[in-house]
Amino acid sequence: MKKWKKKILILLSCMGLLLLAGFGSQAVRLLSEKPPLLDLDKAIQDAQFGQNGNEASQEGKDPENPADGKNKEKTITIRVRGEEIWYNERKCNNLTVLEAWLRGDGKSQDTVVLADDYAESHCYDDTAAVIEMMRDKVGFSYREEEW
């Protein structure tokens, strides 16, 4: 009899501990699971493209053209000076950022110009390689020129 009592006591203790751990209670659910409360991926992605991109989406139009700026062709100038890369006169920290900017900002109707401003040759070549890779993916036209 004593043995049975001990076993029941242990079993009840286990159940009590499991209840404390939260087993058995209904999960909290949202009224709607999709879309998510916050699309964090997209918000972070959009934040990479700097002030100009932010202004265009906030105002709902291209500041240079009152019509919808989405289909307007534009020129993206990438200047390499020494070992520094400048994207439309904004400093670009590295080639990964350059690639991300071209992917998000570049459109098939755009022209990307790579300008040599006393560039270090290895930096210029690496930059050209990234632009050519993105040209193949996005479809913009590309040319090189002296600054």
Partner: protein
Amino acid sequence: MKQKRRIMVLVMLILTSAFLSGWVWNNKETVMDVDKVFVYRNEPVEYFLLRSASNSDSLKEDYQNQYFMMYGRLRSKSSDNSKVEIGMTTVSSPHVLTCTTSDEDVIASVADVRIGDLVKVYGKLTVGLLDGKWTMTMHKIEKTYEKSVSRSAYSVISGKTIDKEKAEKRVLNDGMVTYYIPTSWKTVEKDLYHADKAEDKLATMECYQYRLNEIDRQAVEPESLFVCYFDNDTLLLRKSDKSRTEQIEKTILDNILKSPEKKIIKKTASYGANYHYYSEAYTNNGPTYHAEFIFQPVNTEGFVIYIYICKNKPQHLDEIMTMLRMVEVEQ
């Protein structure tokens, strides 16, 4: 032997339950840590001294264990520079505030200021239990040429200051929550909830994104702060779940993040606000960012949620902590 075995089994059961319920301490380092980054409310010392002389009842509630930047005139300092007394700037009065330190760097700073200088003293105020005397534990002292300070301003130890009256006011949940942002944040603010275009609407709860990396117009990795409001009434499936704070927070994390695994840590700031922290290394299509959530419950009505995303070293932590300090919530 049998007794020892029973005790071992019991201990194992308790530990297993502790892991299952998440009682195990998660010491993942947080960035927006109110226990490490202090925000000092600005105060002319005469205001404090006049109130303490009148022995006002509300003094303890307003000042005990609070962080202040006291502005006054240096009246005396001890020979070892570990103690100073600061008094009123405009009138001659015997009332002074005693400020002490054991920190070598602060002691060195005391040596650099002279009796009669206008000074700013950053520190924590406490009142003696027996003698009722107020003292400040100094974190920093510096000479200043400013003629006055504003009582609506808040500073961090670097000296960076935001005046609430000059900041931009924002409200959430029809004014139940009010927060203030530095004017420089206005140009990098994005409303993700009320957006006109479908592709800009990235949130189904009130949410403002501050793209802090764009403030200096430099090409850097993203650093963003999101300020959101989760309304229990409109966003929960069952109203009966409103009081299940921790479970709601976990549900929100599950919804926004891929697979949150770590524990939520609770802290109470010196100014009384309750914050529930969650942080993790968040991978976003390749790069990994530090993602940190703070949930601030608003009774059982909802939560203010602050989400901070950064890569490497935070660049705008001072402004973020000051913004956090200035938030007003109707209780």
